[in-house]
């Protein structure tokens, strides 16, 4: 969702108003995704790098997030009706306590929904996510005295924030930038990347569909590569006993700990 501030400059409006328009555009895009049958969307809302921005802008973004999450919590019936689950991925402990509470509440409130998934990357960078996965293995794996041979890329992948999501098929970046800016670097190894020059608040359904058509055109060239990856993954699972009781118990404990943290943040 890149280009909110450039859009604000071009329209001579405040930066926060630009971000607000960007959020409205997100709502439109999610509607288009729903209509097209796209079941899972991950959006990059706030990077850990964005903390370097001015206090005014950061606080403005947090206020926008507070407003939107509060509104979401008022509409949980609608979310339940459509089976939408909200997941926020990132180091949410870096955020103000009240925002952590709102985010944790939204996640817990929709955790039983399983038809559509909206993942919001907030206080997120891929490096932090990978470090978090390594940290999880280092701090909790030894509790059950696991052999080091269990540790491989498959296990690390299962410790990422996106543990329960399939890898993205399409990465759609606006505003003409052709870099990934530390977004899901581990997960997008076989994703089609689509870069468009349009600024995020100005995106139309035609821009969106151009991205979808590009994905449909390009995905067949990735079939062989994806098949190889799946085979490699299956081989790793077998060689490292990924589905053994001890590894699955570790992952289950990790999920439980994460939920416990959310419950603690929600009642903070």
């Amino acid at each position: 969702m890149d280009g909110n501030r450039r859009f604000a400059r071009s329209q001579q409006i405040d930066k926060i108003e630009g971000h607000s328009r960007g959020f409205s555009k997100l709502a439109d895009v999610l509607r288009w995704c729903l209509d097209m049958g796209i079941r899972e969307v991950t959006t990059f809302a706030f990077s850990i790098e964005n903390f370097k921005r001015s206090n005014e802008e950061v606080e403005g973004l947090f206020n926008l997030a507070r407003e939107k999450f509060s509104k979401l919590l008022e509409e949980t019936n609608r979310l339940d009706e459509h089976g939408i689950r909200i997941r926020v991925i990132g180091n949410i402990e870096l955020l103000p306590a009240d925002l952590q509470r709102l985010i944790a509440t939204a996640m817990l409130r929709t955790e039983n929904n399983d038809k559509l998934f909206l993942n919001v990357a907030f206080a997120y960078t891929s490096r932090d996510e990978i470090t978090q996965a390594v940290e999880t293995v280092m701090k909790h794996y030894e509790d059950d005295d696991m052999p080091p041979t269990d540790i491989n890329e498959r296990l690390l992948e299962a410790c990422l924030y996106t543990r329960h999501s399939p890898p993205p098929d399409l990465v759609f970046r606006t505003s003409g930038e052709t870099r990934l800016s530390d977004f899901m670097m581990w997960q997008i190894k076989s994703s089609v990347l689509y870069f468009t020059n349009v600024l995020w608040p100005q995106i139309t359904i035609w821009n969106f569909m151009a991205g979808i058509v590009a994905y449909q055109r390009d995905r067949r060239h990735l079939e062989a590569y994806k098949r190889e990856n799946r085979l490699h993954s299956a081989q790793l699972d077998k060689s490292s006993d990924f589905y053994s009781l001890r590894v699955q118990r570790f992952l289950h404990k990790m999920d439980a700990n994460r939920r416990k943290l959310l419950v603690a943040l929600a009642s903070n």
Partner: protein
């Protein structure tokens, strides 16, 4: 009824797009053949050098360039890579990495065949190999002497304008250097978890991040900055698992498989890179 019509329209659209793609690919191949033949007969390297020397004047040039070759690419070979290395050398890019995802049967290029190994690292090379580099220098010295006698030039340039360029440091990256390497680092940290050094890293996340960075650089033999610019040789834009830890801020440019890659293409990529603004989150 409407559903069937929609499906039919969708299928027709697909056939249309596939036909356009095929025609486009044919056009690119014909164009590549024509350009290659023209360059072969014209031997117009002077023009290419001029184009690239204009690129040297750009305010922003990458220090580290990475080339990503898709598993189904059939056009990137040793000759093209040598040309690209030459362009990078002229422009003054000191480091270059090659990430070839193909298998030896499908065109994988082994850099050790035409590059000189550097030190003990099996993945680190120098280009051109020192014999070729020595010949380049001797050529300059010989021609330089003539230049001194004939027109008094003393800047080391040959009378025909040939310059001496520093050797390029080239890295060959494999699929095992991405996700698997990060997992290896994690395993190593886990095995040494009781040591004070690792315990210190676990106290703060940033310290652990820095520790992982250092360990990855050591294993890769990377004493270079992270890649700033990447050229993907593929029919689509995908990074194919390239160094997930290192390419977070790399600007990617896709060069469509089958299209001719020449000095002009390289210069265009550099000009585009010079124009992009990196905000680092701010």
């Amino acid at each position: 009824m409407m559903e069937i019509v929609s499906i039919l329209i969708g299928r027709l659209l697909f056939i249309l797009i596939a036909t356009c793609e095929l025609l486009q690919q044919l056009w690119h191949r014909l164009h590549a053949l024509a350009r290659r033949s023209y360059d072969y007969w014209q031997c117009d390297s002077h023009h290419h050098h001029e184009l690239l020397e204009r690129a040297i004047e750009l305010q922003k040039l990458p220090q580290h360039l990475v080339l990503v070759i898709a598993p189904d690419d059939r056009y990137v070979d040793a000759a093209l890579l040598k040309r690209i290395f030459g362009y990078a050398q002229i422009v003054g890019i000191p480091y270059l990495s090659v990430y070839d995802t193909r298998t030896p049967k499908n065109g994988y290029v082994d850099l050790s065949r035409f590059c000189q190994t550097s030190g003990n690292e099996s993945r680190c090379f120098l280009w051109p190999p020192s014999q070729q580099s020595k010949e380049q220098r001797q050529q300059v010295q010989l021609n330089g002497c003539k230049t001194v006698h004939s027109n008094g030039t003393t800047n080391g340039n040959a009378s025909n304008g040939a310059k001496h360029y520093a050797q390029l440091q080239v890295y060959q990256i494999g699929t095992a250097d991405g996700h698997a390497l990060i997992a290896d680092v994690c395993r190593e940290l886990y095995e040494n978890r009781s040591t004070p050094q690792v315990q210190e890293l676990l106290k703060e996340r940033q310290a652990l991040t820095d520790g992982i960075s250092a360990m990855l650089s050591k294993r890769l033999g990377f004493v270079v900055p992270e890649p700033e610019l990447g050229i993907i040789f593929s029919r689509l834009t995908c990074i194919y698992g390239l160094l997930p830890w290192h390419v977070r801020f790399t600007e990617f440019h896709t060069h469509r498989s089958g299209c001719y890659f020449e000095a002009k293409s390289f210069a265009k990529v550099l000009f585009k890179y010079a124009r992009c603004e990196q905000r680092w989150g701010k």
